[in-house]
Amino acid sequence: MKEFDPGEAASIISVTEKVRPVAIGMPVTSVHFLGDTAAFVGAEENVAMVSGQGEISRVSVHGGGILCAASDGSRIVMGGDDGKLVALDAKGGVTLVATDAKRRWIDNVALHPDGAVAWSAGKTAFVRSGKAEEKSFDVPSTVGGLAFAPKGLRLAVAHYNGVTLWFPNMVATAEVLEWAGSHLGVVFSPDNKFLVTAMHEPALHGWRLADNRHMRMTGYPGRVRSMSWSVGGKALATSGADAVIMWPFASKDGPMGKEPAMLAPLQARVSAVACHPKQDILAAGYSDGTILMVRLQDGAEILVRKNGTEPVSALAWNAKGTLLAFAAEDGDAGLLAL
C-alpha cells in the first residue's frame, strides 16, 4: 500500500451499542418474529422465545434435530428428524401438525398465507389446506425445497433436475420445469412471475413462468443458502459470495441479460440476508460474524455486529420493520430496535 488508508471500519456508522445482546445458549439455525417476540429456532429440540422486554423462555418442539422451519408471522411450523411436523404460536403453544407414518425426516416445510401448510419427507410432498384433507404427491427424487405461489394453491417442489409445480386441488397433471442438477431451495417472486431455485452447485436458476424462459445466475464461490426479496419484489438478495448479490427483478425480463448488484463486500462470505419489509434496506450476516445494514440505492453501510465470531446463521425483521433479530451459529444472538 503506497498511501495511508484509514480503512472503512473507522468511518462506518455503528449501532452496535444499541443492540440488546441475547444469550440463547444453544446453536441457532433461524429466527422468526411472532408479533414482537423473536423466536430463535435451535438446531435441535428447542425454540428460544425472546419477548420485547428481553425475557427468554425455552419451548421444546422436537425430540431431535430441527431440520426446517417456516413462519407466516403468527406461527412457526417446523419439521424434525423425529418425523414430526409441529407448529409454535406466539404464546408458546405447541401443536402437532402431522407425524410421518414411517417416521422419516421432515426435510422441508412451506406456509401459504391462507393457512395451508406443505411439507416433505423423502420423495413425497404433502399439503394440508384449511378444511381439505391431506394430499400428497411424489416426485422422482428427494424433495430439495418447497414454496407456495403467492396466489392460488400451487406448490413448487424442487428436486433433482428441476422443479415440479403441483396444484393440489386440481386434477390437472403437474407441470415440470427442467434444469439439470440438484435444486435445494425454491422461491416465487412476490408478483408470481418468476421462480428461482438455489442449486447444489454454487448457482441459482430461474424461470419466467409466463414462457418458462431460463435464467442462469452463476458466479458464486459458495452455495446459496439464504435468499430474500427486497420490498415490492424488485430484487432478490442472496448469500454465497463475499458481497450481497442482488439480482434485478423489477422489469418483465427479470435478471435476463443483466448484471447483479454487489453490495457490502467484505473479506468474508455472506451467510444470511434479510430484506427490510417496508424500506429499501437489507441486513446481511457474514461468515466471520459481521452484520451490516445496507441501503439498497447507494450501498451505504451501518455496522450492527462486529466480526470475530461464528458465522451468522439467523437474521429476521419483524413485520413492521422496527426490530432486527440475529444469531450466530453458536447461539450468540441480539435484538436491535430501530
Binding site: P27, T29, A43, E44, G64, G65, I66, L67, D81, R104, W105, D107, G122, K123, S141, T142, G144, Y160, A180, G181, S182, L184, M199, H200, E201, A203, G222, R223
Partner: protein, 345 residues
Amino acid sequence: MPELTSSKIPVTVLTGYLGAGKTTLLNRILSENHGKKYAVIVNEFGEIGIDNDLVIGADEEVFEMNNGCICCTVRGDLVRILDGLMKRKGKFDAIIVETTGLADPAPVAQTFFVDEDVQRNARLDAVVTVADAKWLSDRLKDAPEAKNQIAFADVIVLNKTDLVSRPELAEVEARIRAINPYAKLHRTERCQVALADVLERGAFDLDRILEIEPEFLEAGDGHDHHDHDHHHDHGHNHGGLKHYHDEDMQSLSLRTSKPLDPAKFMPWLQDLVASEGQKILRSKGILAFSDDDERYVFQGVHMMLEGDHQRAWKDGEPRESRLVFIGRELPEQMIRDGFESCITT
C-alpha cells in the same frame, strides 16, 4: 490445520456385495462396548438389530454435477443427510455409511471432495469393503460392482473364511491382490475384526499417506490351484506365490529416485485424470520435486485430486517419488511414458 481436521466427524463407508456380511459388521460395530456413539446411514431399515435413534434411511440418489465431467457424481441424499446430522453435532462421534450391495463407492467418496458444507463438517475416513471368501471369486467374474468395491477399498474384510479351504482362501486373496494390492486385508469369520482395523483409519487424510507399499501376500500353501480361463498368470511371483493379473482392473505403481519437475508433473497429472479419470478409480502419491525440501502428497478419486505439501524430507530419507493408480483398463504405457517425461534429467 490439525485442530480443523480433528473437529471434523469421521465417516466410514461400508461397502460389499450382497450377502458378504456388511450388516453383521455393522451390528458388531454398534453393539461392541467401545464407548462411542455412531450415526448410521443405511439403505434397508430393519436389518440393524440395535436400537439407535441415529439410524437414518437413505435412498442412494446419485446425482451428476453440472461441471461437464460425466464421472463426477455425488450422493445427493448424503449431502442432505449429513447436513441434517450436523444439527445434532455432539450426539455422536462418527458416521458410518452403508451402501447397497450393488453400489459404486465413487459417488460417496466424491461427495466429500465436491461439497463445501460436507467438507467443513465431516471427513471421509476410509472405504471398508466386506467380501465373501466363498463367493467373491465368482462375483469378480460376473459382477462389475464387486470388482469396483474391491478396487476402491482401503480396508478389505475377507469374511466367511471358515467356509473355504486354505487353497480356496489363497486363491481369493490372490484375486483381490491382482486388483488392489494396497488395501489392508483382514481374514474374518462372522466379521470378527478388531474395530480399530476398520474405523479411524485416516485413509483419505493427506497427512497419513505415509506408505503406499503393497501388502504382500503371506506365504501360504495354496500353490496348486488352477487358473480360470479368462485369467492368466503373468509370472511375477512374489516369494513364490501365485500372482494374478486381472484383465480389466489393475493397479499401476510408478517410482523414481530422481526428482520430478513440478512444472511438468502437475499439468501431466491433471491432464491424465481429466482424460482418463473415468478409468482411474483411486490414485495416491508421495512426490519429491526438484528444488523442494518438502514432500508433496496427493490423492484422487476419478477426476478429483487434492494435494499438499506434507512435511520436510528427513535427513537421510531417500527422496523418492511413488505413485499408485488403481483403475479399469489403465493405459499403462501411456502413463509410464508420461511419468518418465516429468523426471528431471
